[in-house]
Symmetry: C2
Subunit: 461 residues, 2 copies
């Protein structure tokens, strides 16, 4: 039995539905994140079809290049489930029935009043030297096998010890608990190498400008290594330390890198880190920032082209009810009038205008009795654009009541976003939250440049 | 220049954020789906880190095994963007500046009032024999290169002609239009093998029950092959024909399979097929079905626990303005009262109750002057559950005015959804649209079973 540490891993997913794009593979991302958190670096992710030859050769190649291989899918009862056969072929062993697994399958089917068929019991098979991994949720057990190194690999093996393969079922609801119960205790993260990863989120800056501000922090030869990705108007900064321990020193190096990034980016850097996404980090920061005021400030929204997306983003965060009151989806003009927007303003300036955005925000503020109200009106496309107001034109207004309830203030901005309908709507919702963020966290005064794709600025008189 | 058909493809995605699981790669799925639709079968998907050696060797291996290679990511301005260098190394060519791309980058930055830096202009570089692919949305152009076959491949080349590589930017909003404009016209699907794929969507049925109804249609040895996946309360049925032509015969086989599925599933099968997702198919069906009535029916929403998600789902569909009026996000109870919900009902039954859902729907109907109004109130968790109303309890009401405007009717249902906050909210929004669907398309009377996870049914008196 191998005792070499799992210094790196390859994650495989099998399935025609994945290879043809009919199903989005989320297992691989989940497994990668879990492995990195443990200090095991994934080297490659590979997806292959339900094809025995491809399965065997890919498993062989994966074992030749990493001491740990995790494969998902192909363990079910259908004829397209070939992972068991592939493992048997790789190990040159026959498939035998694992009696404990067969008993578990029988018992599960009985409980669900389903017929016990040969097809179902086929899932209990395993190569002779492999171990079955119990499935608490579904019928298909996982498999764990030790694979000896190839003697004469065409590629030249990158390590000479045994490799370990874990085969896990495809449904995420079965895979995740099986990973935690059966795989995790068998993993051997390298003790001499520490891996620490952290995510930070940046708003109101273009990717290239962010890189310029970070200077040599983003050099590829640094440890921690710092990477940047842009998505939906938010930048994600990845800090990754990989090297010798102790863990405290690694954490310290990551903390120092974060400190330097914070100094360079100021209020552009969100306080929340390691969120599910940049969007959820921004939404959580908004809520935390409103909740932290004494007394807590409340927020309402009025949405036209985003149709509820801003409200959805805010309420996706547990605990948003402490500050979020709700709002109005004024998609049709009649609903803008119902809210209290002046029909003459709609007539004169059009629904996509600073004036209407401003009135939407002010009326929403009053109707929801909130401290802040964000209003969005724009042209998300693909149709509806004109030369004066092309697709992507979005007006966002932020009304604030807290300084003097009788005389709320409004900031309104015009944006021109590129991309498709989804991109434009997402950028609009993100920019609305960004406006609110910079209302509370002024960026350093030394910053000369525009913060957003603002093409115009209309402070409300 | 190669003229061999693109009989198969390998899709690569590069990026530390993908390999470490910090970002879910959706580009590969999208590309796979597009290629399959054209008759080009993906052979493998591979993700690799931002590492020049890994990029070059993986590109080499991909070119050795398929005539078409598409790689996403690594074209941006940061030092971690290495696809340009990898291609240059693979081709043994220097990188030169593509003047047209440099001009396009300058013009885009000027339009956005952003500084024109060397870092930004670096994105205009290409290997000498490669072609730059214009980016209409962002700064990074794509690349197109012809790669000659290896003379002495360790693996043995599986084909001896040139391979073609397309390198596309990582942001989906840039990748997708570039694929359509620049890659699609350069693809050469094989003329002698036909691949036809189709997606159908099913609501109101459990996966196992759907399989039972489809009978031997789901056997693995059939062509077309039929697969089923469940996600967010909607089933996706994949039909895939692969075989010799002519194309008409293949389409005919797929049409026949769809006809048999339609007979088996009746109104559970949505009319829209091949949508971006089951959710968007359901939203589009809802809109189409309302728009098709004479006169067209209008829809409004009142959302509590979903916070705007239902409105967002509906307005994600272009043209939704023909039927969707908008609605109310009544997250706080004060906003439910502002809408017109009786404070006494809130006090007596609680916000999550049939009574409040019913009043929300009726008040939304009146305020929005719509023909239908869907109202959702529930406990999305993770907190807020009680023994009587556990997390996952959701009440949905559908108010309809069109039969007699003075006396609207209401159907209200109680659901108990499992999963996390996101799952519960998504199931709630999906179930609301499903209720409206079956309001217009009654399922066959012979169906004895419950349609949803309805644990109770409260028709409004």
């Amino acid at each position: 039995v191998s005792t070499t540490p799992h210094s790196s891993a390859i994650i495989l997913s099998s399935g025609d539905e994945i290879i043809t794009g009919q199903l989005l593979d989320t297992n691989t991302q989940w497994l990668a994140e879990r492995l990195v958190a443990l200090g095991i670096m994934p080297r490659e992710h590979i997806s292959i079809p339900d094809d025995l030859t491809a399965l065997v050769s890919t498993l062989r190649r994966a074992c030749d290049s990493a001491p740990l291989v995790i494969i998902t899918g192909g363990l079910g009862p259908t004829d397209g489930d070939l992972t068991r056969q592939a493992l048997a072929q790789l190990l040159s062993e026959p498939l035998i029935t694992d009696e404990a697994s067969a008993a578990a399958i029988r018992s599960m089917l009985e409980k669900r009043a389903r017929p016990i068929t040969d097809r179902q019991l086929r899932q209990a098979q395993r190569p002779t030297t492999a171990t079955s991994l119990p499935n608490q949720v579904g019928t298909a057990p996982g498999l764990h096998a030790q694979v000896p190194p190839t003697r004469h690999s065409a590629l030249g093996t990158q390590h000479s010890a045994h490799s370990e393969i874990f085969a896990l079922p495809g449904p995420p609801g079965e895979l995740r608990p099986m990973f935690e119960r059966e795989v995790l205790p068998r993993l051997r993260p390298p003790a001499d190498r520490i891996l620490v990863a952290r995510l930070l989120y940046v708003i109101g800056l273009a990717e290239a400008d962010c890189v310029d501000r970070l200077g040599d922090l983003t050099r590829r030869d640094r440890n921690p290594l710092i990477g940047i990705t842009a998505s939906g108007g938010i930048l994600t900064i990845r800090i990754r330390y990989e090297g010798p321990g102790p863990r405290e020193a690694a954490l310290d190096a990551v903390d120092r890198a974060e400190g330097r990034i914070r100094d360079a980016l100021g209020a552009h850097l969100l306080a929340i880190r390691d969120a599910d996404s940049g969007l959820s980090a921004l939404a959580r920061c908004t809520i935390d920032s409103l909740a932290a005021r004494k007394p807590a400030r409340t927020l309402a929204v009025v949405e036209s082209c985003t149709g509820g997306m801003l409200g959805e983003m805010i309420t996706a965060i547990p605990g948003s009810s402490s500050v979020f009151r709700g709002g109005f989806i004024t998609y049709a003009n009649a609903l803008k009038e119902e809210l209290g927007v002046d029909p003459a303003a709609l007539q004169k300036h059009g629904a996509v205008s600073t004036e209407v955005a401003t009135q939407m925000a002010l009326r929403g503020l009053a109707r929801a009795q909130a401290d802040h109200c964000l209003a969005i009106t724009g042209i998300a496309g693909p149709d509806g654009g004109t030369p004066e107001k092309p697709v992507g034109t979005v007006h966002i207004a932020l009304a604030t009541a807290h300084t003097n309830p009788a005389r709320p203030t409004v900031i309104a901005k015009r944006f021109l976003f590129t991309g498709d309908r989804h991109d434009i709507r997402q950028r609009a919702a993100t920019s609305a939250l960004t406006m609110l963020h910079f209302h509370h966290h002024a960026p350093p005064a030394t910053q000369p440049r525009l913060l957003w794709e603002t093409t115009n600025l209309h402070p409300h008189k």
